[in-house]
Subunit: 479 residues, 4 copies
């Protein structure tokens, strides 16, 4: 749940900000640490004081990017930060966030979680008019729209600019003395508001608040601009409520930490209910239920309780990761998986085992885990997934493989079971998934499951971008 | 279970070796990685090839000490390795293991897990006779005894030397082409033999075998010398079986990874039985059972199943540890604990909670965890420990605080409950603990619980040594 | 001459580029190493291949910024690079060069040496029109002018843009497949063209060519745009020759390496002639002539030969610099200077010594060197400078202190002698300096000596910028 | 002179110590920095305080081995330090100095410069008697002799032990509160005594004193033991003065820094006289005299003055060394030499050039330098060496190649000239070298020139050791 696996969808980032705290940088640093599971390949913090902005950005884990000396250069009582999954390849360095620019209204910094579907289009128009782009980040278009806006008032300019952007965006902006938090009208990505002492904090998940001792206040609302400075909090709606909202249901299923509130609701509870629902739909006799850690743990507990089959931690996770390990040249079979997991043989030997995972993307890792469990002597292995089959790519911020590579998009359930070499595989039904949620089912984006995309997009553009990235990665591998 | 906490007994090390594998260093490196929980402050590997020994030793985690370039310098098909908890202070650098010397029989390297009780005495005698000690490691006496032995045959010399050593030692030696594995006659510390392809491997725990694809063969026996070289395996007994053995029962309770076989038995099973036994002894109505991760997980599951109280993972662990974090100067309350754990509020709110941990040493961390659970809204909190009160220091390799600091040595159960601010605290009984074991109860050392030390020792010596260490650490803190 | 001292003017950078070489990045890396004396606090390289740009930029020495792995990511056969003195403070990170943007004509990278005098003015206009600035680098205005130009042809757009820029600029641009080298119409800063195999190279100094085995072809001409791609070399004039040129005479006096050709002439010869001229103007009886290494060596040899006074290397330089050294808390007197220099006592004891340096800025380091020579037993010390008094700040790329801090701007020669505690101090005359040059005297910018600024500027703007920087630095010191 | 070249003899180390200074470690650190030219591949410092010894040792330059945090762990007012050339290969790590042991008299640390000729013999005997060696360093035998001595008094034990050691040794010992400085009876290697405030310092060269502001007092005498502690200085002779002393004349020729006193005399003066003598012996018409920097500079100045031929710095040295540089795969011709030197073409073009170097070992680097000078257009090139031909290996601490590889041992002067492609080559005569010295000619060891070894040795042993080392290095290269 809070250590990412390779064979899982990857989200682009986590964001955090604070206004009105003498140690702004230190608190954002800790919040990023708590949000580390949302992005393990890069991190950055920008602060603002009277003399301007101060930035530290780099690649790697939060603990690798920052040290005491670097944090000490981040003067100022306003700060925003960002953790991300870098798309490897040529673009790595230049896409470091938060972004930082100087424009007609002064200095501006930006941290962004999500994905626009018309970024390319806006970008092309702007470039034709003389704009210069320094990154390939979607969010840079917001800055340019803002810079070109003829509205005199900042808030007007911002609102007008936002209305041109389509897709998913939870954004933090910072100018000289103000922290600005924004969520797109559909509210695809989470963004929560909290308070620590007199200072307001904003973060992708509330687990970031817990670490710094902040209280959760409420979510930044879809279509809301929140301006936070010394004078306090000011709320402004830039868009009317759309008929439906589109909270990413995958946040509950996999992304968020179970100890977070997401879209105002407990992720932990959601997962337990997903597990219970999965058990109701799949009455299969078995001796034990085991989770694929860490993401399957809560769900498996719910399943176990509902199905009344004992829960066991039979897959042990190795925790010293985020570091490079050298593989012997006489390759150890399934080395990558073994580095991460070990099976407790005594727990599974001779048993009928239900393995709980949240979802299958390519299925490659699951296949290796199943093999390890089989070799440890399990009699039967039944794979249960706490979400429906993932069949469609996401254009709102999750980094899924292309459709071709999504195992459920191209294979039947039987084929998948055969590929995984399990005795059976079963997914949670779409209805079951929605029933497990507290919120109204119309509030969710389930596009990756049912292809119902709340916001239209030009697939051709997105596709070509995706292909370039994968070409780049191939080149990396070859060279 | 496999990430150490501060407020827990600390063991001095894990050891691993291999003979007859072209990539000896790489495999030992991976085995040390699997044994990382036995020592996170230092690591080293020495290999042997025709031209001599090659060594890489350093401070920090395995992944920090070794990199591709360093591993590439470790030529040879025989290798031994070591992970350790360094006692901080002046002695840090010089105690890097494995040790490596040149003596009358050529080159010798040594890696050691355990603690001798007569090291000081032997050492004094040797020094008077002109021996030079380069480390303060107990195990260096073995090398000197060996060097001074007048026995012509190596095996004779080794046996005679070992018979002079009293206390706990699982030792790996390496000379030009032979790996030698030894366990003291009481078998305090574990040491297992495995096989991968044609090569033999030896390691403190079998989880190291799993990572490199080795099969467990058997334990190195108490009082046994195993010589492994190209010609194969040769066993030699240097001591008769003593009336009783003295397997460290704390290996089952806390030290070992649950996926390891310890003294030939499953650690995972032992913990589940400890949990069950604890439930039988303590019938307390409650809504949920939660473990202190990672060490309490298996036990809590056993407890939950026996007591039929739902198991929940309500304490979430942060996994990006083993790195330094900067604390804000306006201190966050209980910062250290928050960095490691977060409570799932929804899981404990309004509930009667049983918290399962393996043991209490000082109780300081437990107290902070309890406080977090209380603040999250738990109605009642009952602390249950899966071992009896720890009342006596260990002289066989575990780094407990002095008696004065052991909370159970100086406080009644009621006082402890009051200190922890729990509604009740209860320990597993001594009988319960032994009943949960598969082995005969006479096979265990339970000295830290009952003060029954299997091998005599001169407490005065040990004490003074301990005091010096703590003085050193004080000095560190001050400066 | 090739290790910078603290108490010297600092130039902003060195630049190098190549087109048409499979190992473009590696060669630029080596050229930057040869240009290291022009900037020791930051370095960067950007390359171009079919898939886009690749960048590595960082702080520190060239050898610290790049390693084998990083260079291996710099695909492409076109590359430009940059070394710089960072102005410490908040702006450090964002001013990393080369810059890299995407605009209406595609990708563009830029590396710049020099200083514009109307950057602020252009910038303000552009920002009002909606442009966004990411750095505080002067050169970013060129990119914006280019992006906003309505000229269809790139060359036209570039020419028009350049004509709006006033001041000193030697610039390298790179788009997908073309390297573009530009020098301002006055030719303030050097820029040389060379050839290695079939590939063209461009660099601030020719010493960069020597290291990679390239031949010097000619200088990029003032007012010239050179376009280099697969089709070869194309030259274009964007500005008519002005009545006078304005080669920075300080390049000969101090900045450049003596083994470089600067503005087409040997720096080594220029320095020797400066030394000879200085000797002609100052006939002072003495026993030995000693240089302040490294910058005074060539000059002192010329002086020694002309004055027929023996040359001695009595100041020994410590070469392991560019690293941090820890100063004892019971401060060693004049620690910083001692770390760099030691006096050969036997060489100066009882002697009348002439010390040759190129220039005095604040005079603080010279004072400490004089003190060391005095303590070593020199009978008389006569300071001779191979340039006239530095009295005016530079607005074309040299980072002099403000006028107030220039010792010669505020003190008489006698006062300077008294401050330095020398028996006499003498400067080379303005006429003598010009006579020592091969080029026509009208070709030089000598503004720092005589206040005759070839290109007008708005001092107020520049001043305020300067003050902000120094405020930032003060803040750094305080915190 | 103070940056080592590859194709030069290499000495094993430099040593420094201090007693009675609160910041002992910091001062030794700075002294090691000043002695960096005596060993660039490893460094270490050990300090002593009441609680024991504290050590920091590592590979690389002084600035790389130590940082503020590491120095802060070196408590105590007594300290010794060491810089060394590591013989690469398996033995690297274990030979880190200073050594540190515990023996019958307590703690002892040792730093050593030189080479024993009977180390192997003593070692074999000791090992037979049960001694254990942890390093392959010669000096470890001293510790063992000391540990085994039956003399009750430390000074007696030390004297008796030293008398068994044959060869070259300047040694620093440290026990709890005393710094002990020793020089062998022949005084092969330098060792100077100084004073800073109330504290005594000892170092291989006096340039170390200059950096920390210490005054030179006198040399530690051959055959003298100096004991320094709170009570002051105590001198003891352990050996009578031998008929002759044996100061290494190569210290004057190449090793030491010119600003050092060596054996009580100025190295700078010695080099200038060597240059003058060389000029007297070789009257060759020429236009300029140029040194190979840095070691040839002083000598070339002396030569220039005597021969009345202008001195020029026509070889420019690159100073950012001690770091790794990446060579392009399409190899640049003579890359290694070009990284270090560049020729000032204007200085040598059309000229008859005399190139001054101190000595030729293999001649490989000189050959490449000559080639560069030739390509720069020199009309004639005459190589002059300020020492006689090096024909014999050194067994007293200099790391020469084997005889087979010494170009002068196997080639005539004409052959050497042909190999180097110079118009002529000439060496300083043996008589000329001795005449240039201030000391009596009987005080020198000139064995590398004339094969007259002051102390006998068993060549077979030494040879085999040497061969093993070179085998190791071959293995390194292959792998």
């Amino acid at each position: 749940m809070y250590i990412r696996q390779e064979d899982k969808p990857r989200e682009e980032c986590g964001i955090a900000g604070i206004c009105g705290q003498a140690e702004a940088a230190n608190l954002v640093y800790l919040m990023l640490y708590a949000l580390q599971h949302r992005g393990q390949e890069g991190a950055g913090i920008i602060t603002s004081n009277e003399l301007g902005f101060n930035a530290v950005r780099g690649t790697g884990l939060v603990a690798d990017v920052f040290d005491e000396n670097k944090l000490a250069t981040l003067f100022g009582s306003v700060a925003i930060g960002h953790v991300r999954y870098s798309t490897t390849g040529p673009s790595t360095e230049k896409n470091a966030q938060p972004l930082m620019v100087e424009y007609s209204r002064g200095n501006l910094a930006l941290a962004h979680n999500g994905n626009l579907v018309n970024a390319e289009k806006i970008r092309n128009t702007l470039v034709q008019e003389g704009s210069i782009f320094q990154t390939s980040a979607d969010s840079e278009v917001l800055i340019h729209l803002l810079a070109r806006s003829r509205e005199k008032e900042f808030l007007e300019a911002l609102s007008t600019s936002l209305l041109q952007m389509e897709g998913a965006y939870s954004v933090l902006l910072m100018n000289d003395d103000t922290l600005i938090a924004i969520r797109d009208p559909y509210g695809f990505r989470p963004l929560a508001l909290g308070k620590v002492g007199e200072a307001y904090v904003v973060a992708s998940e509330t687990c970031a608040f817990d670490l710094v001792g902040a209280e959760y206040v409420r979510d930044v609302e879809p279509g809301e601009i929140l301006l936070i400075n010394k004078k306090g909090l000011r709320s402004h709606r830039f868009a009317p409520k759309p008929k439906r909202q589109a909270h990413c249901i995958f946040e509950y299923i996999y992304f968020s930490r179970p100890d977070s509130l997401i879209f105002g609701h407990s992720c932990w509870e959601a997962r337990r209910r997903l597990g219970r629902m999965l058990a109701q739909e799949n009455e299969n006799p078995a001796d034990i239920v085991i989770p694929v850690p860490d993401s399957g743990v809560c769900t498996a507990i719910g399943f176990s309780q509902e199905a009344d089959i004992p829960f066991e931690m039979a897959l042990i996770r190795n925790h010293y990761i985020g570091r490079t390990f050298i593989e012997p040249s006489q390759s150890i079979r399934d080395f990558g998986v073994k580095l991460k997991f070990n099976v407790v043989k005594e727990a599974v030997k001779g048993k009928r085992v239900i393995v709980i995972d949240d979802s299958l993307v390519r299925g490659t890792t699951a296949r290796k885990i199943i093999k390890m469990i089989r070799q440890a002597g399990a009699k039967e292995i039944h794979m249960r997934l706490s979400s429906p089959p993932v069949k469609y790519p996401c254009f709102y911020g999750m980094d899924f493989p292309t459709r071709k590579e999504l195992i459920a998009a191209t294979h039947s359930q039987e084929e998948i079971a055969k590929y995984l070499r399990v005795d059976s595989v079963a997914y949670l039904s779409h209805e079951g998934m929605l029933k497990a949620m507290v919120e109204d089912e119309n509030n969710f984006c389930c596009a990756c499951f049912n292809g119902d995309y709340p916001v239209d997009f030009n697939e051709r553009h997105e596709k070509s971008a995706r292909e370039i990235v994968s070409k780049e990665m191939d080149q990396q591998r070859i060279s």
